[in-house]
């Protein structure tokens, strides 16, 4: 089925917000040369995206994906309550399962592809791929020394890292789907520096094999900030900056995507300000202060105005209605308002 206007959408979120002062404020711009010099000149940039929900990465990403502020336990492996953008997309447009994918960082995200909402659910959801799980399975029974740097899990509660499950059958299924031999995959993984690089590698494989019309990638390296090491947080921002540019370059280099793909880049929320006494600055996002709730969004693609800045505050929940308008589906249960500036 031909989609309206032949549109495709790639959404890139950062699980692990980045603050303005380490990114777009003058003192932070050195950390994001790619976004600043390569992407912004082609983008419409929303300077204030407010997240009024729970500031935990899984629940916040689920909220972004449903257009509703989800209220479940951030650390529980459960599906969103409200229908996801993936279900609206597939149901309304009658798209096959392989036309929408989520590439997500950790075990907690494996239920994000669909909701438990009546009339929707897993049969209409996105395929979810957790690259680290794939790698863990590929490594099963082998020495993991060369790959362990790619297996960092949730940083949000640094003392707690859930065990990566190694569901080999499912992993082999995904590997087959991606036309990847596990040996090739593990050989390539050795050359990568971080979990997010692994995620982008997998996303590119997906683009090559299936050219999904709706691809959602959640990056997570920045969240190392929870360990309190500022230098590692900055490293995470720089890596995310580079990877966003690489994703955009991959879109431009792929005839299936070039000229018909809109890319949205946004952190799920911010991090605590330095001056909030209840927090510890960049390390966490616990205070609920304005800085931890405010982030930005960048939109690039055909018809999107270049080098344009939108300073009015918008809501995190506006993403799903905007995607609905762009792709031609009706997210009937989503809150928020379509962002006319990019439609």
């Amino acid at each position: 089925m031909q989609l309206p206007h032949g549109q495709k959408v790639v959404v890139v979120t950062f699980g692990g917000g980045a603050r303005d002062e380490e990114t777009f404020a003058p003192e932070g711009q050195g950390n994001i040369p790619h976004m600043l010099n390569e992407l912004i000149p082609q983008a419409t940039f929303f300077t204030q995206v407010i997240n009024r929900g729970i500031l935990g990465h899984y629940v916040a990403t689920a909220s972004l994906a449903t257009g509703n502020y989800e209220t479940f336990d951030n650390f529980a492996q459960i599906s969103p309550v409200n229908p996801t953008v993936f279900e609206y997309f597939r149901k309304d447009l009658r798209r096959p399962a392989h036309d929408t994918w989520v590439v997500a960082p950790s075990n907690g995200f494996n239920r994000i592809g669909s909701s438990g909402y009546r009339g929707y659910g897993p049969n209409l959801g996105a395929e979810v791929i957790l690259p680290k799980q794939l790698l863990a399975a590929a490594m099963a029974g082998k020495s993991g020394v060369d790959y362990e740097h790619l297996l960092r899990d949730n940083y949000e509660t640094p003392l707690f890292t859930s065990a990566l499950s190694e569901r080999e059958t499912e992993t082999e299924k995904i590997a087959n789907i991606l036309k990847l031999s596990l040996d090739d995959f593990t050989a390539h993984a050795r050359s990568l520096a971080s979990p997010d690089e692994l995620s982008v590698y997998i996303a590119r494989q997906l683009m090559r094999q299936y050219s999904p019309s709706l691809l959602w990638i959640t990056l997570h390296d920045i969240d190392i900030a929870h360990s309190g090491a500022y230098s590692l947080y900055i490293d995470g921002i720089r890596r995310s900056d580079r990877l966003c540019a690489e994703i955009w370059q991959a879109i431009q280099a792929d005839p299936e995507y070039k000229g018909r793909t809109t890319m949205f880049i946004l952190p799920d929320f911010g991090r605590d300000s330095d001056i909030s006494s209840g927090g510890n600055g960049f390390q966490h996002h616990r205070t609920g202060d304005a800085l931890s709730r405010t982030t930005w969004m960048m939109v690039l693609g055909p018809g999107v105005r270049h080098n344009t800045f939108i300073d009015r505050p918008v809501d995190s929940l506006d993403l799903v209605p905007t995607l609905g308008r762009l792709l031609g589906f009706s997210p009937v249960l989503a809150k928020g308002t379509p962002l006319q500036e990019v439609l």
């Binding site: 003192e27 009024r52 929900g53 729970i54 500031l55 935990g56 502020y69 209220t71 479940f72 336990d73 650390f75 529980a76 362990e148 740097h149 790619l150 297996l151 960092r152 899990d153 940083y155 949000e156 509660t157 640094p158 003392l159 707690f160 890292t161 859930s162 065990a163 190392i224 929870h226 360990s227 309190g228 090491a229 500022y230 230098s231 590692l232 900055i234 330095d274 001056i275 006494s277 209840g278 510890n280 600055g281 960049f282 390390q283 966490h284 205070t287 609920g288 202060d289």
Partner: protein, 402 residues
């Protein structure tokens, strides 16, 4: 159970001093709202191991709240009382396990979009307590000293960037004997009466610390075994498959110093509970020495409100997979450059935290790139946002700020 149903028997499991206060102030506690009381009780359960200044503050706050009429008290805590709670919270054993209650309360407030209201209420209430029962003034102007950069020969990193608007940057410092001079100065501030000055002058070291008379000393190296024991305990809990992140946090909140190999000597109890809290409540303090020093400084300033605090950062271990670091994997090496960046931000946070204390207008602050010619200083007499070319030793620099 609701607060108004409290009886003295409910506090039978509390440590002696905390139990005494709770029973003595029972009528007051019965009038506090459920959204606030367990938070206060969590503090109170630690009363027996609190730092002296914390006890003074708790006593003063109890005195203050106890002096209010029922109507006045209700008005002061109205914001907490108006928060909507649920029946499950009421059924929790919030007297004996206040940490678990607070965890569930936090989740509830987030999920019902009441967190902003809670923060705002808490800020107003804390402001009232700070004004009406203020902490004591320091006996001398507070001094913070941060020593950083060990192991780095040269850096292009723009050191002290965030601090610079607040003071003077020196780039012509003679580094000779700098560490000894700074520590000797801290010792001299502690004076000749270490007993009277206990908990007032602190030295927090990222590596190995020698003991100094009059300085309460904490070092990352000295806590090596307790850190490892804590990580082992954590790994065992996770491996059991019965605990999620929240259950683990609840378990950590119940730990005693001896559970991670700290001494049971009553004379060490206050310091050991403080150290336990750094490891069990801090995030990343178990794996990175730089995080440990920064967090220990934050907690020291918040809780002990010291007159002197000296921090020395040392290189932390290189980044490894979090799973490996939490499993006590041997360090892959050190990361001096990254540690310098961590410490530079840590120094800025230490200054911010120093500024939150009483007497902040008179506070002095010095950061030195260890063994090198760069330093930064803040003091009432020093110009702000400037650079000094003067050639001087560390002793001369100290004279400029004290």
């Amino acid at each position: 159970m609701l607060p108004k149903q409290l009886t003295a028997r409910d506090f039978v499991n509390y440590p002696p001093r905390a139990r005494h206060i709770a029973t003595e102030r029972l009528v007051l506690l019965q009038q506090l709202p459920l959204a606030f009381l367990p938070i206060f009780l969590r503090e109170l359960t630690n009363y027996d191991w609190m730092l002296p200044i914390e006890r003074v503050q708790i006593d003063a706050q109890m005195q203050l709240l106890g002096s209010l009429t029922g109507q006045q008290l209700a008005a002061k805590v109205q914001g907490f009382a108006s928060l909507r709670l649920n029946a499950e919270l009421e059924q929790l054993d919030w007297v004996n396990r206040p940490a678990v209650f607070i965890q569930d309360l936090t989740a509830w407030l987030w999920s019902t979009h009441q967190m902003d209201a809670f923060h705002s209420t808490a800020a107003t209430f804390n402001g009232y307590l700070a004004d009406a029962a203020p902490p004591p003034e320091p006996a001398m102007p507070r001094l913070g000293i941060v020593i950083l950069g060990q192991g780095v020969e040269h850096t292009d990193y723009p050191l002290f960037r965030k601090l610079r608007p607040s003071g003077t940057f020196f780039h012509n410092i003679k580094p000779d004997d700098g560490l000894d001079i700074l520590l000797a100065h801290a010792v001299s501030r502690a004076g000749n009466n270490p007993l009277q000055n206990a908990w007032v002058h602190w030295y927090i070291e990222g590596g190995v610390a020698a003991p100094f008379p009059g300085l309460t000393t904490i070092s990352y190296a000295a806590l090596d075994r307790p850190r490892k024991q804590l990580l082992n305990l954590t790994q065992q809990t996770i491996a059991s498959g019965n605990s999620g992140a929240e259950a683990l946090r609840g378990k950590l909140a119940q730990l005693k110093p001896e559970d991670i190999g700290l001494s049971q000597d009553p004379a060490d109890a206050v310091l050991n509970y403080f150290q336990l809290s750094l490891l069990s409540e801090g995030s990343g303090t178990q794996v990175f020495s730089t995080t440990f020093v920064q967090w220990a400084a934050r907690e020291c300033l918040r809780r002990a409100q010291p007159e002197t605090i000296v921090l020395r950062y040392t290189p932390r271990q290189q980044m490894q997979p979090m799973n490996a670091m939490l499993s006590n994997a041997p360090p892959a090496g050190l990361d001096p450059e990254g540690s310098l960046v961590d410490a530079d931000m840590g120094a800025y946070y230490t200054w911010l935290n120093l500024c939150r204390l009483r007497g902040a207008n008179e506070a002095r602050f010095l950061v030195w790139f260890e063994g090198k010619s760069q330093a930064f200083a803040i003091g009432p007499e020093l110009p702000r946002g400037t650079t000094s070319n003067s050639l001087m030793g560390i002793q001369d620099l100290l004279k400029l700020i004290v």
